[in-house]
């Protein structure tokens, strides 16, 4: 096969891997709910539902 084909195949594979890495969420540890995309209404509801508890709100960069 031509080198051009392999270069193209590698580029496509790299893009696919990058897209997968970027878009597919990781798994939370056992016992936790799955990672949720932040939506204000749902977050507020969960935060208020825990109002009887001591709550920690932590905001972090993943890298």
């Amino acid at each position: 096969m031509k080198p051009k084909f392999w270069v193209l195949a590698i580029v496509i594979a790299a893009l696919a891997a990058g897209a997968y890495y970027a878009l597919v969420p990781g798994h939370t540890p056992a016992g936790q709910p799955p990672l949720a995309n932040f939506e204000r209404a749902a977050f507020d509801q969960q935060f208020r539902a825990a109002a009887g508890e001591t709550r920690l709100l932590v905001m972090l960069s993943p890298t």
Binding site: Y21, A22, L23, V24, P25, G26, H27, T28, P29, A30, G31, Q32, P33, L35, A36, N37, F38, R40, F43, Q46, F47, A50, A51, G52, E53, T54, R55, L56, L57, V58, M59, L60, S61, P62, T63
Partner: protein, 130 residues
């Protein structure tokens, strides 16, 4: 990332089930272009934690940004300039309160204050650090 491990270590010392941790991951650094990986999420493995991915940094905006919210608590230890987004940040809300009693950043530097505030607010028994 060290902030997440620090929060996990604090949670490990407080076994009371009436503590809940809301962990909100958000893109801040140029390297934050992907959703948090399993490895990243495993930094906070306590079952009392709920984890979120806030791709648009909406929570920071909702809270009013660093200038407004981050310093709103009676006790705050904000040790660095956050510019336009609240991050590497922890706030502690006592039971029944919609206002934090403590805010601090960066997390790893204020984690002892978080432990002290947990002890004060929750009246929980602290176990020695591992």
């Amino acid at each position: 990332m060290r902030g997440a491990s620090a929060i996990e270590s604090a949670l490990e010392q407080f076994h009371d089930p009436s503590v809940r941790a809301f962990i909100v991951w958000e893109p801040v650094l140029p390297t934050d272009w992907a959703t948090p990986s399993t490895s990243t999420l495993s930094r906070v493995r306590d079952a009392r934690a709920l984890q979120f991915w806030d791709r648009k940094r909406a929570l920071s905006n909702v809270l009013g940004g660093p200038a407004h919210f981050a310093r709103s608590a009676p006790v705050n230890r904000i040790e660095f300039h956050m510019r336009d987004v609240i991050w590497d940040f922890v706030a502690l809300y006592p039971p029944g309160s919609d206002r934090p009693s403590f805010t601090g950043a960066p997390v790893v530097q204020v984690i002892d204050d978080v432990r002290n505030e947990l002890t004060r607010v929750a009246g929980l028994i602290s176990l020695p650090p591992r």
